[in-house]
Structure formats: C-alpha cells, structure tokens
C-alpha cells in the first residue's frame, strides 16, 4: 500500500550550506496491507528521516513516495489533510508531544474540530471512549487530566488512540517504546500487534533488534542511509548475510547466551564523509576491490535482499 521508490534526502550542512550530507540514499521498499515492517538502524542511519518523509514533515530530495499508487510527496492543502486521515505518526517522547498547559485530551478535540466538525459532540465522546478502550485505557481514569498526571505509557497510548480516531490505514511508529519501562513496553507492543490484525500497516522504527523481531514480519536494516539488507524477519535474524547485519546480531545482548567473539572497537564508529563505494567499506572485514562501487540490494532468495558484493558474488559462482 505504501511504496518508496529510490527516495533520497540530502541535507545541506557546513557554515554556508556548502557541504552535502546524504541522510537517505536511494531507498526503495514497499509495505503491504496489514503488515508490520521494522526499520532498524543505529543513530544517524536515516531511519527517522524516512519516517518524517513519509509523514510529509520534511521534503524529499529525489524519488517518490506513493500511497495506493498516488504520489504523496507534493501534496498540499486539502489533499494533504486527506492524506493525514490515512497516515499518522507516533513519536519517541510522549511528554514533549503534548502542550503541558492544556489537558491531554485536547488532542481529541482538535481532531474533532479539524476532521469531523459535523459529528455531534455526544457521538464524538462515545467514539473517544471506544478508542481509549481499544488501546487498553479506562476513559474515566485518563480523561480530563494534564499530561504530567499521566504516565509515559498512558500518554503513548493516548497518541495511538488519537490515530485510531482518524481511522488510519498506516502508522509510522518512531521509537515509540524506547522511553517506556520494561513492564509496560510489552503492553504497547502487544497493542500494535492487535491493531495489525485489524488491517493497519505499521512502519516500526527502532534500534532494538529483539523488539523488531517480536513484532514484525519483515525487517529493513539501514546503514548510513542505505538499505543493506531486507526481507522476512526470520531470515534476517536467523540467517543474516550482510557483514553489518551479522555484526549487529552478534552484538545484541541476549538472555539465552553470552557474547562470544570480540567486536573490533577501532572500527566501532560509523565514519562520516561521502563515498561512491559501499558505505560499510571502512568497517567491513570482507571488503575487496569491487566494494569501491556502491552495491545495490539483490534478491538472494524469496523475499530476502542483500546489498553486498561478497554475497552476490558467491551466488554467481
């Protein structure tokens, strides 16, 4: 339903904007109806930039984003508002999403005034109650309160309820549980999985691999703005092929086994600057001559693509 076609975002940086920073380069992927896709990457990998471009919060440098076949990157005015009926986002920090001066349920009134001015107040209140119950909150406990009187998990569920009121088809969930405690984060995750059953598509942006694995059917691994590996979650997690993905999987702290090999610390930091070759070149233990050209994702098996010359070369032999 949502399709990204060679989307690129270039920021102008430096004192007079003389330098270019490729935050996202040539990213293409598709999300189907009722599918949860995880977008995984370290900080600075461009994962939030992609989320914001889908939500139209920042412009696209080149490429196209389309929803059910319609290009959405240049929407304005009423057309953009119609788009927001279908696509909404929830972000990392629930506390800074609210205006602390107003009561938290003001976000529902705004939706009412803006999108459904014809709906009778009583019917609307019933809808709000239902949406709150859908996200596992008791309306009596949470309505008429200020943001500081509610917990992070409650506020985060408020935002999801707000998105549900609009009857959306697509949700961008940008690190929505990283601020929550272990005992409540799993509830919000389960809620997302419930919503998925009703046909909602979700782009789940995270840096936490175990959460991604828990909830998503497909995963996309980003490194410095490029897709290095994508496909069915099981294949990415159980059989990672790209050296970067393999390094990530080896670094995840697990409860069932201890870390084994040492990660080379000198190559820990992602280098900056532009290159026309593979972006992982400087850190890659397998790098060879051909890696001076940028690899593109190649499908190595059904629904599993890798952008690495070593992997595709082995296959060609």
């Amino acid at each position: 339903m949502l399709k990204l076609d060679r989307v690129t975002k270039i920021y102008r940086v430096g004192t007079f904007g003389g330098k270019e920073l490729h935050a996202v380069s040539d990213v293409s992927f598709e999300i189907k109806d009722g599918e949860v896709v995880s977008l995984i990457g370290e900080s600075g990998s461009g994962k939030s930039t992609i989320g914001k471009m889908i939500l139209g919060l920042i412009s696209i440098s080149s490429g196209a984003i389309s929803l059910v076949g319609k290009d959405v990157s240049a929407l304005k005015g009423d057309a953009l508002k119609e788009y927001y009926r279908l696509v909404q986002g929830v972000f990392q920090d629930p506390f800074s999403t609210y205006n602390p001066i107003f009561k938290a349920d003001r976000i529902f009134q705004i939706i009412h005034n803006e999108f459904y001015p014809d709906v009778d107040a009583q019917i609307w209140n019933a809808k709000v109650d239902k949406a709150l119950k859908d996200v596992g909150l008791n309306p009596e406990h949470v309505l008429n309160k200020f943001p500081h009187q509610l917990s992070g998990g409650q506020l985060q569920r408020f935002l999801i309820a707000r998105a549900l009121l609009l009857d959306i088809k697509f949700l961008v969930a940008d690190e929505i549980i990283s601020m929550l405690d272990a005992s409540t984060r799993i509830d919000v995750l389960n809620l997302l999985a419930e919503l998925k059953k009703r046909g909602l598509s979700i782009l789940f942006i995270t840096h936490d691999l175990s959460l991604a694995n828990y909830i998503s059917e497909r995963a996309i691994i980003l490194y410095r703005g490029c897709v290095v590996e994508m496909g069915v979650t099981e294949k990415i997690f159980n059989d990672p092929r790209h050296p970067y993905t393999q390094m990530l999987m080896a670094s995840v702290p697990r409860l069932d086994q201890k870390w084994d090999e040492q990660v080379n610390v000198e190559s820990m930091e992602a280098p900056t600057g532009t290159t026309s070759g593979c972006l992982y070149y400087d850190r890659c233990p397998l790098a060879f001559e051909q890696c001076k050209q940028r690899p593109t994702p190649v499908e190595i098996e059904a629904d599993h693509s890798v952008a690495c010359w070593k992997v595709t070369e082995k296959r060609a032999q």
């Binding site: 389960n190 990660v263 820990m268 930091e269």
Partner: protein
C-alpha cells in the same frame, strides 16, 4: 569485602513532604564483583548509586551506614566525602557525553582534575596513555577538545578519567543506554576488562537493560519502588528468580527469537506506587499475584540460599 551498605535510607525533600526513594537498603559487594542494579524508572536505583558518592539536596540522608574497604564513608557530609571521591569511589555519570569541560583540551582538563586531588599529572601520564590504549583511543585525544570526539569516544574517555586513580568502587550509571548495540557491547566489555586489569576493584552497574547485565555482571540486585527486592548471582536472577516481581520482569523481556505470532508475552499490570506516601508493607503488594495478609508488613531482605537474598514473605515463610 569491598562495599558494605547497612540500612541505608535516603529521602527526597519536596514541598509536599518526603519522597521515600530508598528504604533500609542492606547489601554487600565483594572485591572484584560487578553488581548490576536494575529496576523500572523511579525505583530508586540511581538514588542508591548517587547517594554513595554525592549526596546533595534535595537528597536527604535519613539513616544507615556505608563502609568501603573497611572505612566508614561520611556520605552525609559533602565536604568530608571529598577525600574519598575519585580516589576510592568514582562514577561514570549518565550523560558522559556532556561530562567534560567543552573549553579545555582533554589533557589540560585531566591535569587540572588531578591537581585538585594533589596527584602529579606527569608521573601518571604513562599510565594514562596505557589506559587510552586499553580503550583503543589514540594518544592525540589529549590535545583535542571534547567536541572533536564522537559520542562513543567521549564515553570511553570519561571511563578512563573516572578510573584513573584505581577506585575501590566504580559506579556506572546507565552508561550503555544512549549507545548503539555495537558500541554498547564494546563499552560493556571494556568495563569488564577494567575490572580484570584492576583499574577498579568492584563496580555497580546501574541500568534498566537486564540483558546487558546478563552479559557482564557477576550479580544482580533488583529494586522495586525504593525497596530491595532480590539479589543473587546473575545466573540465578535470570534463570531461577524467587521474588514475584523479578519473575514477572524477566518474563516480560522480549528475547531474540521470541515472536508475537508464536508466543505472546505479558507485561506487569498496574504501575508502581507513588513514593510520596507509599503503601505500608511490601510495595509490590498491589501488583503481586500471590500477595496475602502477611504482605501488609515489610518483608525482610533475607538470605534464603548462599548469596541469594529475597524480600518476600512467600519465599521466606512465616517463621522468618
């Protein structure tokens, strides 16, 4: 025995009364032990860590004794504690990225820091360089400003600084939370290496991420709402916890390999009590599935097996 904490009680002073952030904490850390300190936000884990080194208002010392390497720490006296800070007890703060003076070169700042503790910088320089090698930082960082370093490098630099005088106890407060998985692993492993090299004799690692502790800690102390819930070796806490809170906390963690479609995990219903006016008795009572009448009294933190402490009436029995 390296650290001995007895009945430590710390409150926060607010306009509406005292917030009982830490009550009657009693535990020991052996020499060479890395103890993980875990719990939800607001459970008092940072309060416990900070009170050992810098007990400043609004924190209020209410009672208890802390002994480090056989010497009692005057934790209630900010001035007297100066003698112990950095030399005997040191901390890697939560926001290590911003811990260094931005307008001093790192080497110059280190020199000033040592002079304040009356330590000769020149005599210590070879050791400093050796430690930089240990965390794989080039020696040139000493001639650089903090802004020239990346977040992970700053974190490692602060680790070297904090442990420069070989403290008996190192407190590491959420040092891995702001890092990516790969740097997280590197920093965590360095901490273990520091302990092995004798750069610190023992450590308290404060984090909410239990899976990190499983990788590096020797023992784990779980806190809930200002009270100690359970302390045992890492293996015991992860694989055979006894306190109902620990059990629920461990089982709510999604592991690699766990999937919603196959096995649905459950959170812990309810939320922690407010510590301004906490309920009497066991504070986990309202969320606990096995609570009974006895739980209206505060359960003692007792040793049920060797080095396995639990504060739960169900585990200790009525006769305790």
């Amino acid at each position: 025995m390296s650290l001995k904490v007895e009945n430590l009680t710390i409150y926060y002073q607010t306009l509406r009364g005292d917030v009982r952030a830490l009550e009657n904490a009693t535990f020991n850390i052996e020499g060479g032990e890395i103890m993980g300190l875990a719990g939800e936000s607001g459970c008092g884990k940072t309060t416990l860590g900070h009170s050992l080194i810098s007990l400043a208002p609004p924190m209020k010392y209410v009672g208890g004794r802390v002994t480090l390497g056989g010497v009692e720490l005057p934790i209630w006296d900010t001035e007297k504690m100066n003698e112990f800070r950095f030399k005997d007890i040191s901390i890697i703060p939560q926001y290590a990225m911003n811990a260094m003076n931005p307008i001093r070169k790192i080497g110059k700042m280190t020199e000033e820091l040592l002079r304040a503790r009356k330590v000769d910088f020149r005599a210590l320089l070879p050791e400093l360089k050796r430690r930089l090698d240990l965390v794989k930082l080039p020696h040139e960082v000493l001639d650089m400003y903090p802004i020239e370093l990346s977040g992970g490098m700053k974190q490692r630099m602060v680790m070297v600084l904090s442990t420069l005088l070989d403290p008996i106890l190192l407190i590491a407060d959420e040092i891995t939370s702001a890092l990516d998985v790969a740097s997280q692993k590197a920093v965590a492993e360095m901490l273990v290496e520091f302990r092995d090299e004798g750069c610190c004799k023992s450590a308290i690692v404060i984090t909410h991420d239990i899976s990190i502790l499983y990788q590096i800690a020797d023992s784990i102390l779980i806190m809930y709402a200002g009270q100690l819930a359970e302390k045992a070796s890492t293996e015991t806490i992860i694989h055979s916890p006894r306190h109902p809170y620990t059990k629920m906390l461990i089982s709510s963690l999604p592991e690699i390999g766990a999937k919603y479609s196959e096995k649905q995990l459950a959170g812990i219903p309810g939320k922690p009590p407010l510590l301004l006016d906490p309920p009497t008795g066991c504070r986990f009572r309202d969320r606990c599935p096995i609570a009974f009448e006895k739980c209206t009294e505060v359960p003692p933190f007792v040793e049920i097996e060797k080095n396995h402490f639990v504060a739960c009436w169900k585990e200790t029995g009525n006769d305790a």
